[in-house]
């Protein structure tokens, strides 16, 4: 374990010399496999999510065979939510991660001995869901109602930009971004903002589709991505292009090690990642110390 960490910290000293500027620029000007102007990327991505919002959750289930639920559960368990925490879920649109965090906190509470201190702490719990797309937030709010979380003061919905967050420095115990960082224009700005809003001791967690290297599995995964997913998008959502963008944007996103070095560059310590399903998704984490 320590050898791997040492190797990673050595690599993180070397990689920045070769990767970041070129990687960041290419990410800012790519929309899937297409080249676009930096100023336009945000609008193009916005259009995609406005279109997919109403089918977002069904499509996630279909594309991942329901696995995305397990991945989000893993993300939330790594967060170790606690009553009274202030949390920010960025690009959290339809609420999946936020709901799981709240439900985890409440289930811990129910098992605990009756304690007035606990009740006071619960009043303090604040989960903020921030998304740049109002359609996604509206879907999220409706789902919260359906799940019985709608009237809770603990859940707040904010329309905001991950690159220009609307929270004070050192205000959050936790920060999550699930399947969102791939879509931003400037990854480094998002990471810098994440670092800024987290308190000392706060944890950064990112769940994102990532890179598969294992020989045979990689071919199968590529086949599935490029042949099956856009067709599913066409059949279920009537929108092939958005899902084509989705699979292309996964390939364009930096691989696990490069992304880990970007997180370290933003100031985070103890940067690690865990591959799930052979690298189809990865959970990157870091601490603000």
């Amino acid at each position: 374990m320590s050898v791997r960490i040492a190797a990673r910290s050595l690599r993180s000293k070397i990689l920045p010399m070769f990767a970041p500027a070129a990687t960041l620029h290419s990410h800012a000007t790519s929309f899937g496999f297409k080249e676009v102007n930096e100023e336009d990327k945000s609008q193009l991505v916005g259009n995609v999510f406005t279109k997919v919002a109403s089918n977002y959750d069904i499509m996630n289930d279909l594309m991942s065979g329901g696995l995305h639920r397990l991945w989000k559960e893993r993300l939330v368990s790594k967060l170790s939510p606690f009553p009274g925490m202030k949390h920010l879920d960025v690009a959290g649109g339809t609420g999946d991660v936020a709901f799981r965090i709240l439900e985890t906190i409440y289930s811990v509470h129910r098992r605990a001995v009756d304690d007035t201190l606990e009740d006071d702490l619960h009043e303090e719990t604040q989960i903020h869901v921030c998304d740049i797309n109002p359609n996604m937030l509206n879907v999220g709010r409706k789902r919260a109602q359906q799940r019985g979380l709608g009237d809770l003061g603990s859940l707040a919905w904010i329309e905001g930009d991950a690159e220009k967050l609307t929270f004070e420095d050192n205000s959050m115990d936790g920060y999550t971004i699930a399947f969102g960082i791939r879509n931003v224009t400037h990854i480094e700005k998002v990471l810098a903002e994440a670092y800024r809003v987290l308190k000392k001791g706060g944890r950064f967690l990112c769940l994102e589709l990532s890179h598969v290297d294992t020989p045979v599995f990689k071919q199968l995964y590529d086949q599935y991505s490029f042949s099956v997913i856009p067709v599913m998008g066409e059949l279920v959502a009537g929108d092939r292009d958005s899902y084509q963008y989705l699979v292309e944007s996964v390939r364009r996103f930096p691989p696990q090690e490069v992304f880990a070095s970007m997180i370290a560059d933003a100031g985070f310590q103890k940067v690690e990642y865990e591959n799930l399903v052979g690298g189809v998704v990865a959970i990157h984490s870091g601490l603000k110390i």
């Binding site: 604040q126 109002p134 937030l137 709010r141 904010i158 329309e159 905001g160 930009d161 929270f167």
Partner: protein, 87 residues
């Protein structure tokens, strides 16, 4: 389950409004109940609250015109002003 929904969703909670800051200047925001918006005095911009959701994406902001401020600066659109504020 949803009681008095139209009135409730117009107001954002006090706790939330105290936590939010201007996305550009990171200074505190003032709640303006009359116009249902959040005002950033640091840069003179107001952000709308739509259906109970504060819209704090920089491009959502609108420059506030004050009576004593009729200079050419007012004719700049929100986007330009945000770029300057960022620098």
């Amino acid at each position: 389950m949803v009681r008095g929904s139209s009135r409730v969703v117009e107001i954002i909670s006090k706790t939330l409004s105290e936590m939010l800051v201007c996305p550009l200047s990171k200074q505190p925001l003032r709640v303006c109940e009359k116009s249902n918006s959040l005002i950033s005095h640091a840069i003179g911009v107001s952000f709308p609250v739509v259906d109970g959701i504060p819209c704090l994406v920089p491009r959502d902001g609108e420059i506030i015109e004050t009576d004593s401020d009729r200079t050419t600066a007012d004719s700049f659109d929100a986007k330009t002003d945000h770029k300057t504020a960022q620098e």
